[in-house]
Symmetry: C2
Subunit: 184 residues, 2 copies
Amino acid sequence: MPATGMDAKTLCLGVLVMGDATGYEIRKMFEEGPFAHFQDVGYGSIYPALAKLADEGLVSVIEVPENSHSDKRDKKTYRITEAGQRAFNAALAKLPAPDKIRSDTTFLMFFAEFMDPAHLRAVYDDYLAYYRDRAEFLKTLDPEGVPEGRLFVRGMGLAFYEAVADYIAENRSRLIGEEADAAD
Amino acid sequence: MPATGMDAKTLCLGVLVMGDATGYEIRKMFEEGPFAHFQDVGYGSIYPALAKLADEGLVSVIEVPENSHSDKRDKKTYRITEAGQRAFNAALAKLPAPDKIRSDTTFLMFFAEFMDPAHLRAVYDDYLAYYRDRAEFLKTLDPEGVPEGRLFVRGMGLAFYEAVADYIAENRSRLIGEEADAAD
DNA sequence: TTTATAATATATCAAGCCGATATATTAAAT
DNA sequence: ATTTAATATATCGGCTTGATATATTATAAA
């Protein structure tokens, strides 16, 4: 049972086990929804993945006439099939690949000594604000009726964002130096 | 000044500003060296990147005869040029792209309710061990003579690993449930 | 000593992903 | 009435990923 990377197909199936969705709605789950802080997948992967899943019979395409006067609309809602459910369960039974973090900001800060101080300060401020924002957002979410697995994941995201934000805030002087911050 | 993603070329230049290196040595920096916990780049990106950098005159290739009886060896050591230094400084002056985290394990745990309990426990144990390991490793590193920027980054990695490990350990029962753990 | 294993080192390739872009419709705001 | 934002599908070039092939050198084991 070797560690296998989650591909776009599996990520789409994961969204669809929670309910029918369009490609656009699937994308939103990764952009600002429940997966936003630990997975990402774009349209360039989602639409080809959905086409392949439909080919393999793992999802079905349903045309939902939302409004009354539907002449012709190419909006496609996808639904997971029983075969798709089995495929997703098989993916859940594998060993996951190790976490991967890509932080270009950290790479920059690593070379702080070579950076323009004003730019370094700007990068630092953006970074701290970003992590504080993310933490605040997770705190606003309503835990009502959410399964334990998802609350566990949400809590882990919060712990991560807060720990990093606190570290950044507490170690400002190590990175930026102690110049008098009179000017804006 | 839009946020631009660091490509393999920039990552290689970053390593080379710290000293000459072979492609293999560059890879090690991202596999187990100082960049290991926030960037990754493989041979499939490094060697083409070095070739392009050499084409553009941003690095030079030097043949270092390490041993005395060097008949012919295709070991290539790369050195950054002045143009390469300028290119790297330009990269440092840009706004970095936001952090990206890919955690397949978290994706699995999100669907804990659909997982086999024994497998969930195995995934949980591996994950906690992995984060504890990473934190311990960062603690063993010697801070002697390391520039502040790099210590800041190292400390942030440690804060991250420890916060996540602590969260995982403290919230075990939420994910796994409270069955009597008699059996191994 | 000879053999086997691990580490060093370069390179390529298919498959897949990423970011940008094009296009069109519908809802909301000015 | 017009502009802007949101919804929605789709594609494409460039790049990265992970695996694989190959060869040499150093270390460990038999």
